[in-house]
Structure formats: structure tokens, C-alpha cells
């Protein structure tokens, strides 16, 4: 029940953002408010089974993601370390596109994350940052197989491949 | 003070020029993986071009098409990837 309400609430907030500046009740018109409530309840009834899944090892629902403190932390992560790493990644890839110097290989890292959300966040961050691309994930213990365009060390530690990202993923998602 | 709309049209024309390069890879690519990469690149370029053209025409609903297209083209990519994996 709580999961259903949370999903509906997220859908309603998205609807309100999309229909901003339309009317007189605050920023919205009355019809938009009512239609948005009905539609987001329907969307919540359909989608609540897949929206918040159970954790990989524990039993409780992962509703902690809705904590606003984590949202603020996530936004800070996006505009701070993530954006800097992404800019460095693009300059690096631009250099390699122009000169053509590559030394590729697939390496394995074990970040020891427990939740699905944390692994998703880390894998997406890895894909968008310097010279690395996540290829496969081991479902049992959360190991990531990473394609590295410039292999310096065949058996690296997680810090060597992706910097401070496992620390941030742990703070945001666990 | 305000940017001329012709700027947005020039940027969109550059996007389509890059899409032609990607279409060359879609035709050449030796394996199916290369072709999906090219299709994914064309998708991203067209979605970005749709957002830019919406600013050129001053219509809000054109951005909504870009959102819908970004989400739906992802479904198509996932279908082809699942087929290659041997799932589905």
C-alpha cells in the first residue's frame, strides 16, 4: 500500500511539473489538478510492482530512496564530481579519436554494493566517465566487468578504475 | 539581444550531417552490434535536434515529442539487444 502511494506521488509530481504555468490555482488550473490525480492513481496501480523492488538480500522495501536528503546528495553528486569526471572523459576520448592510440581490455572490479539501485548508479556512472564501459554484471555478488580503453594494470582496484564513485553510490543508495 | 532563429536551424542541419555519417556506419558495419550502435547514435542526435528545433519554432509541444521519442527508441534498442543475447 505504501509502495503504491509512493509511486502515485512520484507520477503526480511529474505531471505537475509538465503542466506548469497553465492556470489560476497557484500555477495550475483546476482541471489539470483533478485529471493529474486520477491519471497518477491509475499509473501507480499499474506500475507499483516494478517501481520499488525488494532488496537483493534483505526483505524490506527500498523506500529509503524517497528520502529528500538523498535527493539533495544526488543533485550535488551530479553537478560536482560526476560532471568534472565526465568533462575529463570527453577530452580523453576526443584525444583518442584524433590520434587513434588505444590499448583495450576487459577487467573485473568488486565494489561490494548491496542494492540494485547502487549497482545501476555505479554502472551508469562508469559508462559515462573516463575510458570505461560496463559490459557485464555478476548477479550473485555484484562484480562488474568493465571494458577499459587504456589498460594500465590488468588487476586494478575499484579506485583505480572509477575514482570516488563507489563511495558516492554507497552514500546515495544504501 | 535575442538569438536569431536561423542559428537553431543551422545547428539542426549540423546534427543531420552527423546523422549521415552514422548512417554510413549502419550500412557498413560488419556485425549487428555495430549497426545498433549507429542506430542509437542517430536516436540521440535526432532527439537533441528535436529539442533545438522546438526552440526555433517556439512551440512547447514539440519538446514533448522529443521526450516520448527518447523513451520509445530505448524500447526498440532493448528489444534488438535482447534478441542478440538469445533471450526474449
Amino acid at each position: 500500500m505504501l509502495v503504491f502511494l509512493a509511486t502515485s506521488l512520484v507520477a503526480y509530481v511529474l505531471y505537475l511539473i509538465l503542466t506548469m504555468f497553465t492556470g489560476s490555482v497557484g500555477l495550475w488550473s483546476t482541471g489539470e489538478l483533478i485529471a493529474g490525480a486520477v491519471l497518477s492513481l491509475i499509473a501507480g496501480a499499474i506500475a507499483y510492482r516494478v517501481a520499488f523492488e525488494k532488496e537483493r538480500k534483505g526483505e524490506k522495501n527500498s523506500l529509503r530512496v524517497l528520502n529528500p536528503l538523498r535527493f539533495i546528495l544526488f543533485l550535488g553528486y551530479l553537478v560536482g564530481p560526476f560532471f568534472i569526471a565526465m568533462a575529463r572523459a570527453n577530452i580523453d576520448v576526443a584525444y583518442r579519436v584524433i590520434t587513434g592510440k588505444i590499448r583495450p581490455g576487459i577487467v573485473k572490479i568488486s565494489p561490494n554494493l548491496k542494492t540494485d539501485l547502487g549497482i545501476t548508479l555505479l554502472a551508469n556512472s562508469i559508462t559515462l566517465t573516463p575510458g570505461t564501459l560496463s559490459v557485464d554484471v555478476d548477479e550473485e555478488n555484484g562484480d562488474l566487468y568493465v571494458h577499459w580503453i587504456n589498460v594500465k594494470n590488468p588487476e586494478p582496484s575499484p579506485e583505480e578504475v572509477c575514482g570516488s564513485f563507489p563511495y558516492w553510490a554507497r552514500r546515495i543508495a544504501e | 539581444m535575442i538569438v536569431d532563429p536561423i542559428t537553431f536551424f543551422i545547428v539542426a542541419a549540423c546534427f543531420l550531417l552527423f546523422a549521415i555519417f552514422s548512417m554510413v556506419r549502419l550500412g557498413l558495419g560488419p556485425t549487428a552490434g555495430d549497426r545498433i550502435v549507429a542506430l542509437d547514435t542517430i536516436n540521440t542526435l535526432v532527439v537533441a535536434g528535436m529539442v533545438v528545433l522546438a526552440a526555433a519554432y517556439n512551440e512547447v509541444i514539440f519538446v514533448d515529442i522529443a521526450i516520448i521519442y527518447a523513451l520509445l527508441s530505448f524500447v526498440g534498442t532493448l528489444y534488438v539487444a535482447r534478441y542478440l543475447e538469445g533471450g526474449l
Partner: protein, 83 residues
């Protein structure tokens, strides 16, 4: 408005390239991918011609539904075209 004419020419060249590839390729999965690209650019053409509702319908049908149906059909039959 020479730039808009150039945009139209680029889109039409891309649609033509996608269609020719979809006919010419022997690997049927590659033909499906080329067809998805062509329908994507048809949707962009509707968009340029100021018909947003048709563009949304074409996006839904061309990108997701047609690709899904063709891929499921490929799953049931053969991937390579017979000579």
C-alpha cells in the same frame, strides 16, 4: 530560408538511405534495424512539417511496435535470408 531547404534535403536523403539499406541487406536483423532508422527519420519529417500529433503516432508505431513485432517474428523463423 535556404537552411530549412537544406534540412529537408538531408532528411530525405537519410530516409532514402534507410529504405535502400532495408531492401539491400541480406541479414534480416540488420534490415529491421535500418527500417527502424528510416521510420525514425519519417517521424522527424512529420515534425518539420508542423504535424506534432502524427509525429507522436509515428514515433510510437515506428520505433517501438514495428521493431518489436519484427524481432519476435525473426525469433520464430530464420535470421538469414535464403538465396
Amino acid at each position: 530560408m535556404i537552411v530549412q531547404a537544406i534540412i529537408q534535403v538531408f532528411i530525405l536523403v537519410l530516409i532514402l538511405a534507410g529504405g535502400i539499406l532495408a531492401v539491400w541487406l541480406r541479414d534480416l536483423l540488420a534490415a529491421v534495424i535500418a527500417l527502424a532508422g528510416a521510420s525514425l527519420l519519417v517521424s522527424l519529417e512529420f515534425y518539420i512539417l508542423q504535424a506534432p500529433d502524427v509525429a507522436i503516432a509515428e514515433a510510437g508505431i515506428g520505433a517501438a511496435l514495428t521493431t518489436a513485432i519484427y524481432v519476435i517474428a525473426l525469433r520464430r523463423t530464420h535470421r538469414k535470408e535464403k538465396e
